[in-house]
Every structure is written in C-alpha cells, then in structure tokens.
C-alpha cells in the first residue's frame, strides 16, 4: 500500500476538490448534465479530460434522468461510473436512483446540495438529498472541501466493495462549499489509484459468453426477498465504512472516526446535531460558548445512510439536552435528521435527553453563530421540546 508522505495544499473550491478526486479515480464513464451549483464539478472534470489528465469517457446526456440511466447501463456493463447533480436534477433522476440501488450499481454521485423547487431557488439546503434518503444509497455529508474530496475517494471503494454494491451519494453544500475556495490537501495520484484499486464487476453485461438477464420483472413471490438483500447491503456498508476509515487514515493521516465527528462532546451538557457546512459554524459557536463556561458539544454525522442510530444514541446518552438542526423539512412532519435521532433515542436509551428540532437555512438562508447560540440558550431555558422551531425565519 502506498502512503502519502507529502500532501500538497491547494486552494480549491469544493467542486474542484471533488473533480480532482474524479480525475485521480479516472472512472470509465461519467454521464454529465449541468445544474447549478453542481456544474463546476463536471466542468472542472471535463477540462481534466480535455487536457488529457485522465481518459474517462464523458457522455453529455440530454437530462439528469438520462444521466442516471446511462450510468446504470454503463455500470451494469461492467464500467466504473461517477456522476454529479443537484436539486431538480436529483429529483428528475430519482426514479432511476432507486433502480440503480436495486440493480446494485456502485455509482458515485457527487451532490452540490440545493433547495428543491418550488419556488425555484439555487441555494443550499438538504431537501434534495433528503428526498432520496429511502432510495437505497449510502449518503455521506461533507463539511468542507477537504471532506468532499476525501469522501469521494472513500465512496468509490465503499460502493464497489462486493459486500455493498450500491450507489454512494457524496453531499457538499451548494455555493457554501461548491464555490468557496479553501486549502485542500490532495493525495498523490498513485496513492488514490492504489486505494480505489480496480473495479471488479460480478456479472458484467458485456460478458457475452455468460449472458445475464438484468432488471427482470419480479412478482410478489420474489420482490420482498430482493428488497431484503438491499437492507443487508446497507448494513454491510457500516462494516466496510469502518474498515475503509482505517485504511484511509493510514494513507492520508485523516481519520473519519466512527460515523460522525464528535466535537467537544465528551463533557458536553448540551449538544447540537447538524450535517455539512453548518457544523463549521457550530464549532465556532461552541468555542465561544465554552469560553463563557457553557458546556456545548457537536455531533456531525458523515454517514446519514445507513443511519448510525445506535452509535449516535450512545453518544448522546446522559446529555442534558440535544438540539437537532435540520436543513430540510418533511412537510407535514418534522426534520428528517430529527426523526432519525428521535427514533434512535427511543430505541436505545432508557433515559433520554430533552430533544429539540430546529429547521434552518432553507433555500440558502444564512445561519450565523448568533442563531446557533440562541438554540443553546433555548436548551438552557428548557423551552418546550414538543414545538418544532425555526431559525432565522421571519414570522
């Protein structure tokens, strides 16, 4: 195994960082279709191909629906496949994302998170990926450009492990991460190549000497069992994720310990749970509050599917109060992350902390540290946890 002895720091946007991961992975086929804020991922990657830095075949499809359809075709054919999208693009391809998962296609999908229409809006929230949470994919959330890069590389290996074989979606927040430049440590090309290895398809359609029928018509006598196999695949993804973290830490020195980052959690009385870039704001807020003597910590899940319910419940055991911040809402219900954590606490903890849910940042609404601090104040004041609350909303 090759290990990165020196990692070059580059000033890259999250989109560029994801494109670099794609360049280093050098997949066989990448179907592309533009949509803000994902577009710079495929543009940067297309330039890498145009410059001969990798030799992937790009298919300029005519819609995201066809992007995912071509991805499934290429993946079943036996190729390593990646693509990228956002928001409406994910909504349009969603029919085929479910099928990609059921056909066990290890496609890596980079997502520049963006609010779903309507009304139309190009800015970040997580309504797009949350819409796809039941599709059967692994879902990973990156806080920053570095994580976006690292998770893309881990995703490829995770998806293609024969115990898993499902698509992996890697989310980075639209604009906040996709379009913001920060220093990113890129691994040397050969280290990445070595880490991801070769894709070994089990039943490639192009093996004409061993013909297979793929995507047949399945009636009530078998459908249920096939869905159960997808449950097992996502269960296996937990094991493989943990194994890969060991390997990835060895080559990069960056450790994605467990399924979530625990920031100043061990002695915390109050906990914020939040995905993606807002975790950065949360860390700043926590540091400020701790200087005032308030013991606050953070849980930032990297892995949303399969949901690490038991691990998160255990991490929250004994806390005074927990506030789950959701950048999406299941209309008619509460936030998707909250619903998961609420179920996890109910399932695993006999004595539960007070649990709050805040909806924030929809359609790109800014969420500064003061708003997150107000959540901690609410927890200190023991406000009513049976009320769904909103951050930064004019009412």
């Amino acid at each position: 195994m090759r290990v990165a002895t020196e990692q070059q720091l580059s000033l890259l946007t999250g989109a560029e960082a994801a494109a670099h991961a794609m360049r280093q992975i050098n997949p066989d086929v990448v179907p592309v279709y533009p949509i803000t804020p994902q577009t710079p991922i495929i543009e940067t990657f297309a330039q890498f191909v145009a410059d001969g830095l990798c030799d992937t075949e790009i298919i300029n499809v005519e819609s995201e629906h066809s992007a995912m359809s071509a991805a499934v075709g290429a993946s079943c054919a036996g190729a390593r496949v990646m693509t990228a999208t956002s928001s409406q693009g994910l909504a349009l391809m969603l029919e085929i994302v479910y099928i990609a998962a059921a056909m066990r296609c290890p496609i890596v999908i980079a997502i520049g998170s963006r609010a779903l229409s309507g009304p139309i809006n190009i800015h970040c929230d997580h309504s797009d990926s949350m819409m796809a949470r039941d599709a059967g994919c692994v879902q990973l959330f990156a806080e920053n450009a570095q994580e976006a890069y690292d998770l893309m590389i881990i995703a490829q290996r995770l998806a293609e492990d024969h115990r898993v074989l499902v698509p992996v979606m890697v989310m980075q927040d639209g604009f906040t991460i996709t379009h913001s430049a920060e220093p990113v440590a890129l691994l040397p090309d050969e280290v990445v190549k070595d880490f991801v290895g070769e894709y070994e398809p089990l039943y490639p359609l192009l093996d004409v000497d061993h013909p297979t029928t793929q995507g047949p018509f399945v009636l009530p006598d078998y459908y249920f069992e096939l869905k159960r196999q997808q449950v097992d695949a996502l269960d296996a993804a937990r094991t493989v994720w943990l194994e890969l973290q060991e390997r990835f830490a060895e080559i990069s020195g960056r450790r994605y310990q467990g399924f979530f980052e625990a920031y100043k959690l061990s002695d915390a009385e109050y906990v914020l749970v939040v995905l993606s870039s807002t975790a950065g704001t949360a860390k700043v807020t926590i540091d400020r509050l701790r200087r005032k003597g308030i013991k606050v910590g953070l849980v930032k899940p990297w892995v949303f599917r399969p949901f690490p319910a038991q691990e998160i419940a255990q991490a929250l055991a004994g806390k005074r109060a927990v506030a789950v911040l959701d950048r999406a809402i299941s209309l008619g219900s509460w936030g998707p992350l909250y619903l998961e954590i609420s179920a996890a606490l109910g399932r695993y903890l006999p004595k539960k902390p007070a649990l709050y849910n805040y909806i924030y940042g929809l359609g790109g609404r800014d969420t500064p540290p003061e708003l997150l601090a107000s959540v901690v104040t609410d927890m200190q004041n023991e406000v009513d946890p049976t009320v769904l609350r909103y951050l930064g909303l004019r009412e």
Binding site: D28, V61, S63, S66, S69, A77, A79, G215, F217
Partner: protein, 313 residues
C-alpha cells in the same frame, strides 16, 4: 445477405430469443425480435424498455433471453444503451474486453414515440453506435390499449374510446420514422413483421453502420387491434399493401422506397378486419373513412416525392 432458407436455419440454431415467454398468441413483438437478432452476425446485448416484451419474457427467476439483456425503466432504453455502448468503447480502449459486440434496444411505441422520445433523440444526436428498434403496435398495449402518439386517427382505445361524442382518437399519429431521420443518423428504416426478409436485411444494415440506427417496425397486437390470433402477419401485410405503412429506408440522408404494391389496396382492407376500427364502418362514419384514405394517399405521395429511387426487396 443470407437467403431466406439460411435465415430460417439460423432461427433454429441461434435461439437468441427463445419460445419460453408469455407473449400472446398472434403478437408481433416476438417475430420482430427473433428476426432482428438472428439477422445480426455479431454477439448482441439487448436493452429493453418497460412493456409487454420485457414483462412477458423475464418473469423472475426465468428468462427467455440467451443473450445479455437489461431492462431499467420505461422511458430510458436509449439512454441505458448510451451508457452500455460508451462503457463498451472505453473498456475496449482500456484493453478489458476484446469482442466485437452490437447493441440493440427494443421499445414499444409508448416507450419510444411518447415517454422515451427525449432519451431516444439524445442518444441519436450523440451518435452512439446502437440500433434502436421500435416495435410499434400503435397504443399502450401492456396496460390495456391506451392511446399513444402512434395510435392512428379514429382508432378505438380505452383512453380515447368510441362513444356518443367520440369517434376514437381525434388526432393523427406522429411520424416517428421521419423524426428519427431528422437526426442525420446513418441509417433509418421503416419495416413490418409481415416482410421478414426486408426486416432481416434492414437489421443487418443497421448493425453494419458506424453510428446510430433506428428501425420502426409495425408490430401487430391481437388484444388491442382485435383480430384472430392466426391473422397477425396478414394484418401487418395489409398495412403495407394499402400503403398505410410503407417500407422504406433513409441511408445517410437519402431516401429509398423498398416496396410499391402492384395494386395499392383501399385503406378499408386494412381497417375492416380490426375491431378497433369497427365503428368506422357504421354509416354515420363514412366521412371518417374518406378522411383516412385521404391521409394515407397524401402521405404516400409525399413519400414518393422524397424517395430518390425504388429499391426492390
């Protein structure tokens, strides 16, 4: 081109698509599939849109296919084929496979004229080397005869039914073969399950061109059209003899007519044996029959003007 006898022998030998399927007696689709697959020399990979052909040939865990076969969804067979063909090119370039393979996508008219038109257009425009075959039975037959963009004017369907205030479908069918030709692809042809040798020749030609090929094949449906199951080929033949469904091809943008009937039969010869047109023979609908004949005549004249020459079968 092998002769008819040789093609028949190959049917026996190859069995790329076997009889182990649940398609109706008198269905045109299996004739279309067997003829095309057996006419192609190279190994093939088949892509299938959702529809009768898919549902009736792959009831898990059984299959009627002895060649690699894939189905993903209804509207995306051409896009799936794009992905497979691209994977094929890159895996060959990277030395992971060496065989010469052809790619054939089958979709019904619903999956091709309507819901799959965008994916088809995109794939044709991008120039993937594959053959798209529309087995056109002129309505959504898998779900029980609902009208599609391919359903002919005045035909009875379950979503444009005949009634006190309706004579069936009030619109004309769209001309998908012409739409495909407008993509400037190397090969486009219209064929019928009734003209076996013509269809086989067109399949071979489609497999030989270095780029996309599109075949629009008239394919009968006993349930939707309403004819005795042993009349499938005869009904399809009448569509050709009445010039309702001309056999022609567009090679590199040049139009060739493949068949001119010795005596062009009146359209009623094609309409009368089919229950979906039965209402047209009631006295109050005489004008509709006249209109249909006019439509056929005009389309035929237009086609004759387009075709540079007549290419005998």
């Amino acid at each position: 081109m092998p002769n008819t006898k040789e093609l028949a022998r190959r049917e026996e030998m190859h069995q790329r698509f076997t009889g182990a399927h649940a398609l109706c007696a008198g269905c045109g689709a299996p004739i279309c599939v067997r003829t095309i697959l057996n006419a192609i020399e190279e190994p093939v990979v088949v892509v299938n849109a959702t529809g009768c052909l898919e549902v009736a040939t792959t009831r898990y865990p059984t299959t009627a296919w002895n060649v690699p076969w894939i189905h993903v969804a209804f509207e995306n067979a051409a896009a799936v084929a794009s992905g497979i063909e691209t994977a094929y090119r890159v895996l060959r370039r990277r030395g992971k496979i060496s065989r010469e393979i052809r790619f054939v996508a089958f979709g019904g008219d619903g999956g091709t004229y309507d819901i799959g038109l965008q994916a088809l257009s995109g794939a044709l425009e991008r120039g993937h080397r594959f053959i798209y075959v529309c087995y056109d039975n002129e309505a959504y037959m898998n779900t029980g005869n609902q009208r599609s963009g391919a359903t002919p004017f005045a035909a009875q369907t379950s979503t444009a039914p005949v009634g006190e205030r309706s004579f069936g479908k009030p619109q004309r069918r769209k001309d998908l073969t012409e739409i495909a030709a407008a993509h400037h692809i190397p090969y486009v042809a219209q064929a019928s399950i009734s003209d076996w040798y013509d269809l086989a020749r067109k399949a071979r030609q489609a497999a030989a061109v270095d780029g996309p090929a599109f075949l629009n094949v008239l394919s009968t449906c006993p349930r939707g059209w309403g004819y005795p199951t042993d009349q499938a080929v005869k009904i399809a033949r009448l569509a050709v003899e009445t010039c309702y469904w001309p056999l022609y091809e567009v090679i590199e943008g040049r139009w060739y007519l493949n068949y001119i009937p010795e005596e062009k039969l009146p359209i009623t010869e094609w309409l009368r044996p089919q229950k979906r047109f039965a209402h047209l023979f009631e006295p109050q609908n005489r004008e509709l029959l006249h209109q249909i004949q006019q439509q056929v005549d005009e389309a035929w004249e237009k086609l004759l003007r387009k075709c540079e020459r007549y290419e005998a079968l």
